[in-house]
């Protein structure tokens, strides 16, 4: 943890204010990026999610190659898999993730505010059970070393990769970018194919394809309206 200062808090606030504004104007939603792709085969938000990951992967691994920036010293463990699994169910049920709860609350959405309040309640409830007695055991998940008791793997990121292999972190970053870019391209192709199928001259095809955009529109309307 870095020493806390007014500058850090101010930088965070300014950054987040711009992000909140852009999120509000673009209606980007992390929940929709996953849910709409799975339920409605609509990829508007999924593409934005991938674009953001590509940009940050390039930037973060680039600076980490020369030891710059503030990468998170972070204990890797099975608790991430289980925790985010619960989070994934929760965000679809609530219709908002950690970002969109704040953004939608800013738009006057009481449902999002309600989700936010219960996120806090959930955090507080978990803090009551966070100890050495329940899984995951507190001391073991806070140690940066691998251990079986907390199902921990220690610390592993671009910096440790560079240290172990001698290959600059940026090279691994490029591999990840290529992978994310591949998914992006596959989505664009699929969208193009779907658009062509819709515009195809054969009458029955266009009729069959007609309900699809209606469902996608319903999902977009749901994003704008309900939490």
């Amino acid at each position: 943890m870095h020493d806390n200062s007014v500058t850090q808090c101010l930088a965070s606030f300014v950054f987040a204010a711009v992000v909140g504004f852009l999120m509000q104007r673009s209606r980007f939603c992390n929940t929709a990026a996953l849910r709409d792709a799975m339920l409605f085969k609509s990829y508007r938000n999924t593409k934005a999610l991938l674009a953001l990951m590509i940009v940050t992967t390039l930037g973060f691994t680039g600076f980490m190659s020369v030891g710059g920036g503030h990468p998170i010293e972070f204990e890797v463990g099975v608790n991430q898999l289980v925790g985010l699994f619960l989070f994934g169910i929760g965000m679809v049920l609530a219709g908002a993730c950690t970002v969109s709860t704040w953004v939608k609350t800013g738009e006057g959405n009481i449902g999002a505010l309600w989700a936010l309040i219960f996120t806090f309640v959930g955090m507080f409830l978990f803090s009551l059970f966070w100890s050495a007695y329940y899984w995951p055991p507190a001391p073991e998940t806070m140690s940066t070393t691998a251990n079986l008791k907390g199902l921990q793997f220690g610390v592993a990121n671009a910096a440790t990769l560079q240290l172990k292999t001698g290959i600059p972190a940026f090279v691994f970053g490029l591999v990840q970018v290529a992978f994310l870019g591949g998914i992006y391209r596959a989505i664009v192709r699929r969208e193009r194919a779907a658009a062509q199928a819709r515009e195809a001259p054969a009458e029955p095809v266009s009729r069959a394809a007609a309900p699809a955009p209606a469902v996608a529109q319903a999902s977009a309307a749901e994003d704008a309206g309900a939490a």
Binding site: L22, Q80, L81, L86, G88, F118, F124
Partner: protein, 163 residues
């Protein structure tokens, strides 16, 4: 202005956010929300419980409630930015869920998000936009978890929509 009249292209918006995120990474650390929300929870709990909160080890040792924590201002900043965007584009209005089952789903969803964040030590933002771009192994575990979770959630959501 044009930007207040129609929605911005999300890909464009997120590329800008990505560049800003790199700047934040250089100044304090990558974008994250869960930590700030935890601190807000701690401050709220302290306001209600007073010094009794120190009886809970998590708040006494790991997350001592304080106002000098940068991640908290990320949450407040997003709220402020979104409010400004909504007001300027005349999109601010009170939206209240109508049906009881919506309230129930939101309540359960919120609880699961809070528990999940504290169990994993990360939220969805740090998963996708902080640690996975840092090639952190925890990020890959978290992405696998959230994708499966969102799929299970979608099945439940679909059931609820149809009923």
């Amino acid at each position: 202005m044009e930007i207040f009249k129609r929605s911005m292209d999300p890909v464009m918006a997120m590329v800008i956010v990505g560049i800003l995120d790199i700047f934040l990474f250089l100044v304090v650390g990558a974008w994250t929300v869960g930590g700030g929300e935890t601190m807000l929870t701690g401050l709220a709990a302290k306001a209600v419980m007073g010094d009794q909160i120190n009886r809970i080890p998590f708040w006494a040792y790991v997350f001592k409630p304080t106002f000098h924590y940068w991640k908290m201002y990320i949450s407040l900043g997003m709220l402020f930015g979104a409010f400004v965007g909504a007001v300027l584009s005349k999109e601010f209005y009170w939206r209240v869920p109508r049906r009881l089952d919506e309230w129930v789903m939101i309540t359960i969803g919120g609880l699961l998000m809070g528990i999940g964040i504290r169990l994993a030590f990360i939220c969805n933002v740090s998963t996708f936009f902080a640690i996975t771009p840092q090639l952190n192994l925890g990020g890959y575990l978290a992405v696998s978890g959230i994708v499966v979770g969102a799929w299970v959630g979608s099945l439940i959501y679909k059931k609820a929509l149809e009923s």
